[in-house]
Structures are given as C-alpha cells and as structure tokens.
C-alpha cells in the first residue's frame, strides 16, 4: 500500500470522529468524510444555516433553498435545525463545533493553515467561511495530499501562502501519514507501509517527530 486515495484518507479521518460530534466539513475533499461515518450519529453543520445536514439530494429532487456551503443541493435529516448566517457563525466562532475538517494548500509546524489563496496579492481573494471555521471550531483537522504534484512539501516550518488561521490545526491526515500538531510540533502517529521515517521526512518541509509506535496507515475505505 503506497499513497492513499482521497476517499481512503477521508475514511481514515472519519474513523476518528466519535458518535455525537457536531462537525463541519469544508467544501471539496473534506465532504468525502461524510460517506465514511457509517451508522454513527454525527451532526453535520453547513455554515449557510443547517445542523443535521443529510446526504446530497437525489437527482430530480433538488430544492434550491436547501443547499450546502458549496451550493450543492442537500437533504435535511430528522433532528435538523435551520438558522441565519449570524447564528450559524455564532456556532462556529463560539467554539461549539467539535470539529472542522478543512482542505489546505499548506500547514505549518505551529498549526498555521493556508487554504484560501496561493497568492497574497490575489485580485479576487475568495475567503468565504474558511477563516471563521479555522478560528472557531474546537479542533481543526486538515485533509490534504502530503506534497504538491511537483513533489514540493506542503507541511512546512512556515506557510508561504497567506494564512487562513494562525496556530489552529491540531491534526493532519495526508495520503502518507497522520500527524498530530502539538506544542512540540508535528508528531507522526500513522504512516503508510511504503514510507520510512527518513523518506517521509524528505517529503516534509518541517522537522517531524515520530510516535513510539507508529501505526500503519491503510486503506480502510468502506466503499
């Protein structure tokens, strides 16, 4: 087993979400996490005003007053609640979400995250809700590929891209490893079998530490 696919990373992350958590999944790849929750009751939040978001709406049954933050048609589960944008971000900023899963361009050893622009002089800076989520949720877990397509590392001592939030990330799930971000920096807890500490360090732009027992990161995707 070499690199994990996106769905496999999402499945591994989903395994760490306990029943009963209230969770926001960032737009894009993080949304895959919902497919791997299984029978656990996890309450999904979308920042445009819902707790208890269900799966995507079936084709032909879309209701355009019921969309997620990525503007795709969704459904509402039994137990869902609707609220306005200020109330929704009060939930976010007030620290009431147990977890937010975000994609990222880069994460730094101190927990900084850059996920909204590759260019500080972006002429159309598109921030959306990412900065609020980064600042507000109790835990920020990042789901991303370990390196750029070019092989350049995305886990760095300092982010080169403009920040979404400073010192907020507590865990990174990549196609190669699971990494805790603690006061002493990144700690590898899981790693694919084809990597060694040395080879993983080579693909990483920040100094890694390794847990006494690093678990093998495997594809546990249940579909």
């Amino acid at each position: 087993m070499s690199r994990l696919g996106r769905s496999a990373i999402a499945a591994r992350l989903a395994r760490d979400i306990p029943e009963g958590w209230h969770v926001n999944l960032g737009i894009g790849i993080p949304e895959l996490v919902a497919d791997h929750i299984g029978a656990r009751e996890v309450v999904f939040h979308s920042e445009n005003g819902i707790l208890g978001m269900g799966p995507a709406a079936a084709e032909g049954e879309e209701d355009w007053t019921l969309i997620n933050a990525g503007k795709k048609p969704i459904t509402a589960l039994k137990g869902a609640s609707f609220f306005n944008h200020a109330e929704s971000f009060a939930i976010v900023r007030g620290g009431h979400l147990d977890l937010c899963v975000l994609g990222a361009y880069q994460v730094a050893a101190n927990g900084d995250i850059a996920n909204w622009s590759r260019d500080a002089d972006d002429i159309l800076p598109a921030i959306g809700g990412a900065m609020d989520l980064a600042a507000g949720a109790q835990r920020i877990w990042v789901l991303m590929s370990h390196t750029e397509k070019s092989g350049a590392p995305r886990i760095l001592e300092r982010c080169a891209y403009p920040l979404t939030g400073a010192g907020v990330v507590s865990r990174i799930y990549t196609d190669l490893a699971v990494i805790e971000i603690g006061p002493q920096g990144p700690l590898v807890t899981d790693m694919v079998a084809t990597e060694s500490p040395e080879s993983l360090q080579e693909k990483t732009g920040a100094q890694l530490r390794f847990a006494p027992k690093v678990a093998t990161l495997e594809d546990i995707a249940d579909r």
Binding site: S81, H96, G136
Partner: protein
C-alpha cells in the same frame, strides 16, 4: 446514538462545584428552570456566581438560592422584587456582591459569550454611572461603552419542547433569555415540558439548535411546599 436525555439528577448536575459560574434563564418566572434550581439548592453548592436577569420573587425558585446565601455574586439587570429587603441585607452583610448591568447589555453580553465575541461597543449607559471604569470610545461622533462577553460554567434552561438531539422550542415569551443562556454555558442543562421524537420539531421552528444542549431532563413541577420557608432559608 446522540441522546442528550438524562433521568438522573446527580448525573445531570455532575461537576457543579462550589464557586461555579451558573447562568439561569427566565424573565420573571417565565422560562425559569425551577426543577433544576431546586436540585441545585438541594445539592448545597455554595459561592455561586449567578447570571440571571432578575433576583427572583418571594422565597421560591431563583430567590431561594439567594436567600440561602448560596450566591456570592449576582450579575443581573434588576435585583429588586418581593424579597428585596432580604437581598439588601445580604449585600450589606457582604454575603452577596452585585454587578448590575442594563438588561439589553446583559442579553448582548450573553449572546457575545455564546458567539465567540469577547467584547463589543454599545451606546447603552454612555454618560451614566454604568460607564464608570469602563473603556469608552467615539464612533462616527457618538459615544459608546465597551462591554465584555459573559460565559458560564453551567447554564440552566427551561424549554417547552425538546428532542433527543437537544433541539429546543419555547412557549410564547418564555423564550426570553433561554437561547442566550443555552449558548453561553459551557455545559447546558435543560428541563423541558415535553420530550418529543426526533423530527417532531420542524427544522424552521427550532429555536435553540441541539448543539447547545448537553443534558436534557423531563421537567417536573416543584410543589410550593418543597421550597424552604423564608425562616428556614435565612
């Protein structure tokens, strides 16, 4: 299964210790969680910092905590009522410390606490005693007072209907401070008139989303005779 329901009061109040900051919903007796207040009284918790708009009336409900000397500090907008002589005696005796804040400021401070806003500016009280010792500031030619958010270790809330996820509705104006207190509590304990199946409350009609509810109990009326009489309380 996500299930906030709890049938054991000791479990519901687990962790409530002397010195805790506790916010309690209600305006007058409307929206007041009397079953939980009675349990808190029975638990014997002392040195409470209490956040509540009123100080209560008579000797039952909220007032019983004050009259029993359990409250070290009261943050409220209106400390007067039928037992104000007693409250005054407690303040003069140094048993009870008062922080009186305008009602809208109290509501906004709780709202800010629940919403992750540590401080805000308000025109209320500018140029009055309330502004003394607080930072003031001009915006666009008008004076404002900076007020800090309020959060609580525990929130006690009275709801009308609730489901097992903790979604809540309130009857009429019993809503008052309930959603604010629920959001400002790090652990929010709710008593509801009626616990309904999940899905019975339409999503548009949920007033407090379940994310704010930590513990949900079936409300039971507290008989008048169960409260300490004024003599016993004092």
């Amino acid at each position: 299964m996500l299930d906030r329901r709890c049938e054991d009061m000791a479990q519901a109040l687990d962790g409530v210790q002397d010195g805790a900051c506790i916010a309690i919903s209600g305006f007058g007796e409307s929206g007041r969680p009397n079953m939980l207040i009675k349990a808190l009284l029975d638990r014997g918790t002392r040195d409470i910092t209490l956040i509540s708009n009123n100080a209560g009336e008579g000797h039952m409900g909220l007032a019983s905590l004050l009259l029993a000397g359990r409250v070290r500090r009261l943050i409220c907008s209106f400390p007067r009522g039928a037992m104000q002589g007693e409250i005054e005696r407690l303040v003069r005796a140094g048993v009870l410390e008062l922080e009186v804040t305008p009602q809208g400021t109290l509501a906004e401070r709780l709202r800010a606490g629940g919403a992750g806003i540590p401080a805000f500016f308000t025109p209320t009280g500018f140029g009055t005693l309330i502004a003394q010792g607080k930072e003031t500031r001009e915006f666009d030619g008008r004076g404002y007072v900076m007020e800090r958010a309020l959060t609580a270790d525990f929130a006690l809330v009275k709801a009308h209907r609730a489901d097992r996820w903790g979604n809540l509705t309130y009857l009429n104006l019993a809503r008052n401070f309930c959603p604010l207190v629920a959001a400002a509590g790090r652990r929010t304990i709710v008593e509801a008139d009626e616990i309904v199946p999940l899905g019975a409350i339409p999503p548009e009609q949920v007033i407090t989303p379940g994310i704010y509810t930590d513990v949900l109990m079936q409300s039971q009326p507290v008989p008048d005779a169960a409260w300490p009489t004024p003599e016993k309380a004092a």
